[in-house]
């Protein structure tokens, strides 16, 4: 039966391109690439790489960005969960966080850039009143050499991701009872959560945390918008070498891609070391018997940081919208003097093609991912056991994109495969599939098995039970997973750029390519379109079940 093959198909689809890609980056990194005249192995590419000016700094910033972004996001998530109660503010914050997840990285980065730039929204809001600035200050806030704005831009996106992952894992832990027990022993609720729940929560979100480290240490699009330029982060340098008209630079790029793999690996190893240290020190802290301390401070930071992050993202979007319709806008003015539809009018003819391409790619990749996910989960249900190998789903999220996409390109070029659109769709699938699977697995696995048994005892086949019971009853989580898949695909930059050979234009590649131009009004238009597309998917995913099941009260809540 076909179902039985799905776990194998999934693994082949995910693992083979990554392994092949890494292998094909390793060969040219050591001088072997016959197509470009590299007939024998040598260390020349590495010597050239080490001679690159500012390499140490690039590596340092990539490493720091991976570790600091993750540490900050995780700390805020844990603090927020520790202090969060069932108040209106907290419910509201939790609800605001999920749309943030749909926001493409590039759009969030542009939003942040428009907010904190010397002539950005924040400076305008406080000028000249507080700052006394009549002219934008000559400060290097954006693309600062330390990568601080890059890390901030990443936190805006990774914080919601870790928060949602934690919220999804928490029900398994029965947190309210743990806290109640600790409180009955005299612990303050916040300390009770940090000592009684957090240590059990961390193992459940470890893989997402590793994915964040890998992503933040190797991201390309956000680093092109917010990251330092002289030198840029390692991943951006690798891309530049890859695109160098001098094809001999490919060897350098390959060595860089392998170094990026090492940097990400190093970041993961350092984190793992910190984990061990925290575990050792943490145990002593958990057992030391202190029942309270610093709650006020914790509450302030936990909520405060989350509010700041949410506000930053929200204000950033408003900034994008404002710039996209701004006419004349003198510096310290908080709002434009005139509004104009002109930027939209000029952009509109150019928008159509990329929007259509984006949707074609996202829809195809998502449909494929849904098909594979449903088949794998249904197979698991019928077999009655979880497929352990599915942990490998995280592989594409942990191996840095630039490291294996580069090798994959080399491989495809040497095989002379140039089917650009299908290749882009398949590489998007690598990143869409894990997220679709992760977002659907919980509801699928927790679906009451009695429904299927009932259908069988009423004489229906397992297939009929799937189509007529499971699928319609799980429509809401299935559509949500589809919206997640669309959002992931829409936000992809590097796979589209590399596998499309620069010829496939999506809203994301177009928006990011505008970054160097610096025309904020045009960027505003494109980034806003990029932000709206995935949001539309989520609105559809939430609205459709309500519309379809408007006469079925039992289908209103999630099953």
């Amino acid at each position: 039966m076909l179902l039985r093959l799905t776990p194998v198909v999934v693994l082949v689809l995910l693992v083979v391109p990554i392994l092949a890609g890494v292998a094909m980056a390793l060969l040219p990194a050591f001088g072997y690439l016959p197509a470009l005249g590299g007939e024998s192995f040598s260390l020349a590419p590495w010597r050239e790489l080490l001679a690159q000016p500012g390499l140490a700094r690039s590596v340092g910033i990539s490493l720091a960005s991976g570790l600091i972004t993750t540490a900050l996001s995780l700390a805020v998530v844990l603090l927020f969960l520790a202090v969060a109660a069932d108040t209106r503010l907290d419910r509201w914050l939790r609800r605001l966080v999920s749309p943030l997840l749909a926001l493409p990285h590039a759009a969030a980065a542009f939003g942040l850039a428009f907010l904190i730039a010397p002539s950005g929204l924040l400076a305008r809001l406080f000028s000249p009143g507080l700052t006394g600035w009549e002219q934008p200050p000559d400060w290097l806030i954006l693309q600062d050499p330390w990568g601080l704005s890059l890390m901030l831009g990443l936190v805006i996106k990774e914080l919601p991701f870790l928060l949602l992952m934690s919220l999804a894992a928490l029900p398994q832990l029965d947190a309210p009872r743990r806290v109640a027990l600790a409180r009955s022993l005299g612990y303050h609720p916040t300390t009770a959560w940090l000592k009684g729940v957090a240590p059990a929560l961390y193992p459940l979100i470890r893989l997402p945390v590793y994915a964040v480290i890998a992503f933040a240490s190797s991201v390309v699009d956000v680093a092109m918008i917010l990251g330092p330029t002289l030198p840029p982060t390692l991943a951006v340098s690798v891309l530049e070498w890859f695109h160098d008209p001098d094809l001999a630079k490919r060897f350098l790029a390959a060595a860089g891609a392998v170094l990026q793999l090492g940097v990400t690996l190093a970041a993961l190893l350092i984190w793992w070391g910190l984990e061990c240290l925290t575990r050792r020190l943490g145990r002593r802290w958990v057992e030391n018997g202190r029942r309270r301390g610093g709650e006020r401070w914790l509450r302030l930071t936990g909520r405060g940081f989350l509010i700041i992050t949410t506000l930053t993202a929200g204000l950033g979007l408003i900034g994008l919208a404002l710039y996209s319709v701004a006419g004349f806008w003198r510096f310290p003015d908080a709002l434009p003097t005139t509004l104009t539809p002109r930027h939209w009018q000029t952009a509109l003819p150019a928008l159509g093609g990329p929007v259509a391409t984006t949707l074609v790619i996202a829809t195809s990749a998502t449909l494929l991912a849904m098909l594979l996910t449903l088949a794998a989960l249904e197979h698991e249900q019928r077999r009655g056991r979880r497929t352990a190998t599915l942990a490998l789903l995280y592989l594409p999220l942990i191996v840095p994109q630039i490291a294996f996409l580069f090798g994959l390109m080399v491989l495809l070029e040497s095989l002379d495969i140039r089917a650009r659109l299908p290749l882009v769709i398949l590489t998007h699938l690598l990143f869409v599939l894990p997220y679709v699977f992760l977002s659907m697995a919980e509801s699928y696995r927790h679906f009451d098995p009695r429904w299927t048994r009932l259908a069988l005892t009423l004489g229906h086949s397992p297939n009929a039970a799937f189509w007529r019971v499971r699928l319609p009853m799980l429509l809401a989580p299935i559509l949500t997973a589809a919206a997640v898949g669309m959002a992931v695909s829409i936000g992809q930059y590097l796979p589209t750029l590399l596998l499309g050979g620069g010829r496939i234009a999506t809203v994301t590649t177009e928006a990011v390519s505008l970054a160097s131009g610096g025309n904020r009004r045009i960027i505003g238009v494109w980034a806003l379109v990029q932000a709206i597309l995935p949001l539309l998917g989520f609105i559809l995913a939430m609205g459709l079940p309500r519309l379809l099941w408007s006469h079925r009260r039992g289908m209103q809540g999630a099953p």
């Binding site: 048994r453 069988l456 005892t457 229906h460 099941w549």
Partner: protein, 211 residues
């Protein structure tokens, strides 16, 4: 509703988990008779039901044969056994109307489905409920719909998995009478699993207690 005159035969059934024997049973349930199986939690009552219905977890080791309509159904998939199941909860499909739930259970070959649904609803005092959303029904009404859904699916035998335990006292008594009455009239061999001695008394059939 169609009557069958076939008994359900449980021939030297033995279910074991590892080295521990959970259930041993060897009995014949006549048409229209309700066999009650009682016993503490963990005694293997649900395991027995799962084996007869065809959902036994492969971790268990089951021996013996199950005969129904003169066929050996031990190895058949659940949907081909002709064994109907009544759960603790009514489990009306929330995405289907009341009539949709009933139609879902009816065999394909049945011709005048709508008329039979109307008649069945009428018989349990729920005439005209066909287009209703099951979520808007009371607990007792849902239990009755679940019962006629089971009967309309024309099973050859019925398993009852503590179907009255979630109902309040008053309703429980009413439902018991309705259910046992219907099963008796339909001439179905039935097996009831329960904690409640009153269930066993009302069922009026033989009683087996698992240790």
């Amino acid at each position: 509703m169609k009557t069958t005159s076939h008994p359900l035969a449980l021939e030297r059934i033995r279910i074991a988990l590892g080295t521990k024997t959970l259930v041993e049973i060897d009995t014949l349930i006549d048409p229209g008779e309700v066999l009650t199986v009682m016993g503490p939690s963990g005694a293997g009552k649900s395991t027995l039901l799962a084996m007869i219905a065809g959902f036994l977890d492969p971790a268990f080791e089951a021996r013996g044969r199950i005969w129904l309509r003169g066929r050996d159904i031990t190895a058949l998939p659940a949907e081909a056994r002709g064994v109907g199941l009544l759960f603790q909860d009514p489990l009306l499909f929330p995405h289907l109307s009341v009539a949709g739930n009933l139609r879902f259970g009816m065999p394909r070959r049945v011709k005048d489905k709508n008329a039979r649904i109307e008649q069945a609803l009428h018989d349990v005092g729920l005439a005209g409920f066909g287009s209703r959303d099951p979520a808007t029904l009371s607990g007792g009404q849902q239990a009755r719909i679940a019962l006629i859904r089971l009967l309309l699916s024309e099973p050859a035998a019925v398993l009852l998995d503590e179907p009255f335990s979630r109902l309040d006292r008053q309703l429980r008594h009413e439902m018991r009478r309705l259910v046992f009455d219907r099963l008796h009239h339909a001439g179905l061999p039935s097996l009831l699993v329960t904690h409640d001695h009153e269930d066993a008394e009302d069922a009026g059939g033989p009683l087996i207690t698992l240790a």
